[in-house]
C-alpha cells in the first residue's frame, strides 16, 4: 500500500473538481444574472427616450428636472408637465397615447427608479449641481439613451473616490451622506 500523499489526493480528484466547478459555475451564474437580467435598465411603463428629447429636440435637462439645482431630488416631471407639450406634439404616437391615458385618468406614471441609493444614504442633487458637476458625470451619456441605463455603480467606493479626488470639504466624513 502506498503512503504517497499525491496518490491519495489524486484519488479525490473528481470530488475536488466538482467543488471547483460549483464555485466556478456560481460566479458564471452571477455574472449572467448581472449582465442579462440586470436592473440597470428596466423597462419603463412608457418608453421614454432621452435621446429624442435632448439630442434630437434640444430640450435642456432643467426644463423637465426643474428642481435639480434647488432640492435634494432632481424631480421627475409631473404628468401635467409632460402634457404641457404633448397635448399638441406627437399625439398619435403609441407612447404618447399611453401618456394621454394616464392624464385622462389623472393617474401618476409609475416610473421605475433606475438610480436608487439605499434609504440610509442622503444624496443631494443640489449640492452636486451647484458644485458644477455635469449630469453626465454620474448619469453617463444620458442624452443619447433611448432607455435610461445606469452606468455608475452608485456604490460607496464610487462616491468616495470622487469625493477624495475632488477634495470635497468634509467629503469623507460619514455624516455627509449618512445621518
Amino acid at each position: 500500500m502506498s503512503i504517497s500523499v499525491g496518490d491519495a489526493i489524486s484519488s479525490f480528484k473528481i470530488p475536488i473538481l466538482m467543488g471547483v466547478m460549483v464555485i466556478f459555475g456560481f460566479g458564471i451564474g452571477y455574472l449572467i444574472n448581472y449582465t442579462f437580467f440586470s436592473d440597470r435598465s428596466p423597462v419603463q411603463p412608457i418608453n421614454f427616450s432621452h435621446k429624442i428629447h435632448v439630442t434630437d429636440n434640444n430640450i435642456q435637462c432643467m426644463h423637465c428636472h426643474a428642481y435639480v439645482d434647488k432640492t435634494p431630488s432632481a424631480g421627475v416631471p409631473s404628468v401635467k408637465k409632460c402634457m404641457g407639450c404633448h397635448k399638441a406634439i406627437a399625439t398619435d404616437k403609441p407612447e404618447i397615447i399611453k401618456l394621454t391615458e394616464y392624464w385622462d385618468k389623472q393617474e401618476p406614471i409609475p416610473w421605475i427608479k433606475v438610480h436608487d441609493v439605499p434609504d440610509f444614504v442622503y444624496f443631494t442633487h443640489k449640492r452636486h449641481i451647484k458644485a458644477g458637476i455635469e449630469c453626465q458625470t454620474c448619469h453617463g451619456p444620458i442624452e443619447t439613451m433611448a432607455r435610461v441605463t445606469r452606468v455608475s455603480s452608485l456604490k460607496m467606493p464610487w462616491c468616495v473616490d470622487c469625493h477624495t479626488e475632488k477634495q470635497v470639504e468634509n467629503g469623507r466624513d460619514c455624516v455627509t451622506c449618512h445621518k
Binding site: 442622503y122 449640492r127 451647484k130 455624516v175 449618512h178 445621518k179
Partner: protein
C-alpha cells in the same frame, strides 16, 4: 521614522483633530429647566424614535435619545426634586468611540460624536463603555401602526434591529444649516441657525446650542458662566454638553 512617530502622535491624540471646524456644544441651565419633558417628545418626533410599547418599557428597552433623570434630595417635608436632562454628551474624549470594532462611531471634524447606523454591527460595546448610558440599542425592528409612519422624518434614517443609536445633536439640522450657508455663499453657519429639536422646543429656554469656536455665540457665553460644569466631570470625558448648576440658595 519621523513619519512613524508622527503617526503615533496622531493616534495618541483623542479624536485626531487639532481644532474642530465647528465645536457644536449645548448648554443646559438647570436653574431654568423645569423637567416638563417637551424636549423628550420633540426628540422623538424629529428623530423617528419608535413607539416601543409598554412591554418594552418594562424590559427597560425604551428608546429616548433624551431622557430626564430625576434625583430627590432630603426627606419630607424638606424635599427637593432635581431634574437632569440627559442626552449624548458628545464627549471630545469619548469612551464609546475607541471600542467600536468597525468604527461605526467616531469623532468628526465638527466635534460631533457620530453614529453611523448602516455601519453598526451591534456589539453594544459603545453602550457598555458610555458612562452616561445614553446609547440605545434597537433590540427589535420597530414598526409604526399605520398611518403613524406618515409622520416619519424623511431626513433621518429609520433604524433596523441590531443597530445602536443615540442623540446626534440633530445632525440633519446641522447639515441643512451648512447647506443653506453654502447656498448663501457664506463660509460659516451663523449662531442660532442650528437648533436641535430639543433646544427648539424648550419652553423655559434652558437649552442653548451653538459653536464653541465662535467666542460670541450664546453657548460660548454660557460655558463661561461660573455655574457651568460637566456631569461626571471627574471621568474626564470632556463632554460637549455643559450644564449650569441650579441655584440652591436665594439671597
Amino acid at each position: 521614522m519621523a513619519k512613524i512617530t508622527d503617526k503615533i502622535k496622531e493616534y495618541t491624540r483623542p479624536g485626531y483633530y487639532e481644532k474642530f471646524d465647528y465645536h457644536w456644544t449645548m448648554s443646559i441651565d438647570l436653574d431654568r429647566c423645569t423637567g416638563c419633558g417637551a424636549c423628550v417628545v420633540a426628540c422623538q418626533a424629529e428623530n423617528n424614535l419608535p413607539i416601543v410599547g409598554e412591554k418594552r418599557f418594562k424590559e427597560r428597552r425604551e428608546m429616548k435619545w433624551l431622557r430626564i433623570e430625576r434625583y430627590w434630595e432630603g426627606e419630607y417635608p424638606n424635599l427637593k426634586l432635581k431634574f437632569l436632562p440627559m442626552l449624548c454628551q458628545q464627549c471630545d474624549q469619548a469612551p464609546c468611540e475607541t471600542p467600536c470594532p468597525v468604527a461605526a462611531t467616531y469623532h468628526n471634524q465638527d466635534g460631533l460624536n457620530t453614529q453611523i447606523y448602516n455601519r453598526c454591527i451591534g456589539t453594544r460595546t459603545c453602550a457598555v463603555y458610555c458612562p452616561y448610558e445614553v446609547r440605545y440599542f434597537n433590540w427589535f425592528t420597530y414598526t409604526w401602526d399605520e398611518p403613524l409612519e406618515q409622520q416619519l422624518n424623511p431626513d433621518v434614517t429609520v433604524r433596523e434591529k441590531g443597530v445602536m443609536e443615540k442623540c446626534t445633536f440633530c445632525v440633519q439640522r446641522i447639515r441643512m444649516a451648512k447647506d443653506k450657508a453654502k447656498d448663501d455663499n457664506r463660509r460659516r453657519v451663523k449662531d442660532g441657525e442650528v437648533t436641535p429639536a430639543c433646544v427648539q422646543s424648550c419652553a423655559s429656554e434652558a437649552m442653548q446650542f451653538g459653536d464653541l469656536n465662535d467666542p460670541n455665540s450664546k453657548v460660548s457665553k454660557m460655558t463661561k458662566n461660573k455655574r457651568a460644569y460637566h456631569v461626571l466631570e471627574e471621568l474626564n470625558t470632556k463632554p460637549s454638553v455643559v450644564y449650569l448648576q441650579k441655584v440652591e440658595k436665594h439671597d
